[in-house]
């Protein structure tokens, strides 16, 4: 489903990613951990076609990221700490806009379905600027799943959410048929990441230094000790 070979990204003199190799099967959920500046967001941005790699190949669902970016964009949904929502449009108008951009069939019905999926139907006509951070992030999930993509890329989706909003966010993700989707999630929330994933990896200074199936991790404490030895810093 996702194949990354020898991927590197350089910004000026700063090497953000070094020779990343990664293969993901269909419906696999990978949690990607790492300290700030490790290259997690850069990796997600390259996979989502937002930035071009310096070298290496990325193939998603059979499409090359350099040659067939539009085909890849049709197949991915991105949830990040930025919601990509227009503050001066209502929740419904935002989804209608994105629905038309993705050429979603029967937009009105699909928008209504995803709005109720994320529990925002009563606020459909309210401007996004009146929403709390948690509500915006729920609407951001609706935006990302609107075109029913087989691949979800989640870049630190819990940033700025309170514990209640985090729980709501997880519940909505589970409800949105996430088990049938291939998911890459970067996060600093180790417990959440381990709980949701079936594969965990650690990125340090642009390199994947640890990558194992979730079954090899006994518990959160065990993973924290692995993380600390990989990163060389205490959590």
């Amino acid at each position: 489903m996702i194949s990354i070979n020898g991927l590197s990204k350089v910004f000026g003199n700063n090497v953000a990613l070094r020779e990343i190799n990664l293969k993901m099967k269909k419906s696999e959920f990978m949690a990607l951990f790492g300290p700030n500046g490790a290259g997690k967001t850069t990796l997600i941005k390259i996979m989502s076609t937002l930035i071009a790699p310096t070298s290496g190949a990325v193939v998603i669902d059979g499409y090359d990221i350099r040659e067939e970016a539009i085909e890849i964009r049709k197949r991915i949904g991105v949830i990040s700490h930025e919601t990509y929502l227009y503050e001066d449009l209502s929740a419904q108008e935002n989804l209608q806009f994105y629905g038309r951009m993705y050429e979603v069939d029967d937009i009105e019905e699909r928008v209504s379905d995803v709005m109720s999926e994320v529990g925002l139907s009563p606020r459909a006509d309210d401007l996004v600027r009146t929403f709390s951070r948690g509500m915006k992030q729920r609407l951001s999930i609706a935006r990302a799943i609107l075109h029913d993509p087989p691949i979800l890329l989640l870049d630190e989706p819990y940033t700025g959410l309170d514990p209640h909003a985090v729980a709501t966010f997880d519940r909505i993700l589970e409800k949105s048929d996430i088990s049938n989707k291939t998911v890459v999630m970067t996060t600093h929330m180790i417990g959440r990441g381990i709980e949701m994933s079936d594969r965990v990896a650690i990125l340090r200074s642009g390199e994947i230094v640890y990558d194992v199936p979730r079954g090899q991790i006994r518990d959160e404490k065990h993973f924290k000790s692995i993380y600390e030895s990989c990163i060389g810093e205490e959590l």
Binding site: K45, S48, T49, L50, I51, A52, I70, E71, R73, K74, I76, V78, S80, E82, T83, Y84, L85, Y86, E87, D88, L89, E93, F97, Y98, R100, M101, Y102, E103, L127, R143
Partner: protein
Amino acid sequence: MRRCLNIAWKDLRAEFRTKQMLNSMLLFSFLIVAIFGFAFGPYPERIERLAPGVLWVAFTFAGMLGLSRSFASEKEQGCLDGLKLCPVDRSAIYIGKAISNLILMFIMEGVTIPVFIVLFDYSIPNLGEIGFVVLLGTAGFVFVGTLLSALTVNTRTREILLPVILFPVLVPVIVSAVSATTKVLSGVLNILDELRILGTYDAIFFIVALLIFEYTIEE
């Protein structure tokens, strides 16, 4: 094209709701015309020589306010990446933005011209020809301005940088538009040379923008 119109619809819907850009553009153009009005008095001699300068200064300076916000508002709301994630050719984003900028410019110009007529007590002759010159001049202004607005969106001093790099590129448009407007207001309707320059400029910059837009919004 449907998706270009969708982007323009989204921009205009948000703009007509807040009227942040439109109000600023209208106020600014009104101020320019009013200041010139006070400076030259209500019945200046040879107004047909004065009017093109006043009008095009108002159009370009007020238009600059709108252009500078075109991509900056996307960036500030964190929506530029959302747009770039949509499965469309990046040039569709450019066309959508250019359409919404054109509509805002035409609204501003549609208000500025009557204000000018009232303040200077001047009845503009050959309105059809003037309208055609304004249409071509505005198109050139918007085609280049939208491209450069995207180019400067990732810089910290974008509001300052945009006019600094835009006005030199706009010289052929402004010179031709002012010259054509002067001729039409003086009753000379042979403005084919100016229209040729404006039309060629518009076509060249529209095509160039479509070709290079993808690279201008890259991070």
